[in-house]
Amino acid sequence: MTPLKPVAPGRKAVLGIAFFVLFVAVWAVATLSGFVSRTFLADPVTMLREGWALFAQFGFAGDIAITVWRVVGGFVLAAVCAVPLGIAMGAYKPIEAFFEPFVSFARYLPASAFIPLLILWAGIGEMQKLLVIFIGSFFQLVLMVAVAVGSTRRDLVEAAYTLGATSRGVVRRVLLPSASPAIAETLRLVLGWAWTYVIVAELIGASSGIGHMITDSQALLNTGQIIFGIIVIGVIGLISDFVFKWANQRLYPWSVA
């Protein structure tokens, strides 16, 4: 192996899949051989059987749908508020000076710790779930978007001015296009985090969703269902990641190396 030397695409895929296979193999050996008690960890076959049962008998598809809806709803809400604020902060330094210290502080407030308060304020309905995701994503998004906009190359801004651009023109025609790939990347990243928040919100005080199913299964010591639920979350995350990456490459062909 040579440092930083790229690997051929075909080989890259084989290597990536190989680890999945290895992971499942180790898991299968550890559980099927009886080395790890079934009470603590289901084997892959049981997990798949339980997963099938979830869909066939317990309407798991509905749980998935409601969880996806919550993530998307809360995340879109956060993005709609955070992206414009982040852009304003990145572009105009007084606005940044006004908001940045508070936002920096607020982003360290753990979203999950707000759940008891949010239950008090918003009940255990959908609004509470959306708010958990909103709090978890909003502050992160604001800061990362502000940084993306603020790090626009100064020489490009100067070039725009010498071409007769106004301040508004610079924001609209230089800062925004220059930062948009980074903003899209930020959205992709934070959407991943939103997934952890939604599950936490559903673990506590929910009557539907993947998180709720996991708590239910815990009461029954059904580790197969728990693991299946976790894997489903992982797979959905992976799919949304792929969609985002694909869309970003399509939208910003100029920024891809």
Binding site: R153, D155, L156, E158, A159, A160, Y161, T162, L163, G164, A165, T166, G169, R173, V174, P177, S178, S180, Y252, P253, W254, S255
Partner: protein, 267 residues
Amino acid sequence: MNGGAHRHKLAIEAVGRTFAAVRGGTPTVALEPVTLRVEDNDFITILGPSGCGKSTLLRIVAGLDTPTSGRVLLDGTPVVAPGADRGMVFQSYTLFPWLTVHENICFGLREKNMPQNEQQRIAAHYIARVGLGGFERHYPKMLSGGMQQRTAIARALANDPKILLLDEPFGALDNQTRALMQELLLGIWEAEKKTVLFVTHDIEEAIFMAGRVIVMSARPGRIKVEVAVDLPHPRHYTVKTTPEFSALKARLTEEIRIEALKVAATA
């Protein structure tokens, strides 16, 4: 001279720039008051070692930097901010990466809300002028350094500025490309008659294109000497091997060497 009535294209009047002291240090004088008159259709090169304030001077003319003393007048109007009347080409590649060659060239025209067909016509003219036909739909990252700077020149010219400011635009290019770019720019100037202020540290480049070379001294920067270049136009690259060119080069080499030695002694 010709009395106060004559108005210069560009008048740099005792323009100086001092950078504020950092944490109790002494303020840095980047530029001692400099006075320079530029006439319509002049091609002036400003030659000096690095750190002589030549880029600072150009940035002040562009309105990207503010002088601590003096003022700059363009057609009699004081310069206070950057504007479309002063086109600039930077040393770094400053094409907008998200725009194609064509869209980059139209950037300033769009800002003026010029009708589409007018934009098309002007862009096509300058794309042909800098020899980039067939590359209109390319993004900057697909172009070589020389092609990017040609696009940057076309983008500045498309705006039809009163003066073209170039800050070591060919500094990052290899020697061969550089020589070709000099010929290209000189050809454009000979054909379109623009007023040009060109900053460089390359002596040959300074002489080849200029009507007048302004030599600047090392820190703090000020004008050391002005040398008129009376080589005939249109200039062919072979002019670089003539005795007249060599004599100018020898003289300027001597002037610059003294300054470079000063810089080396203080560095």
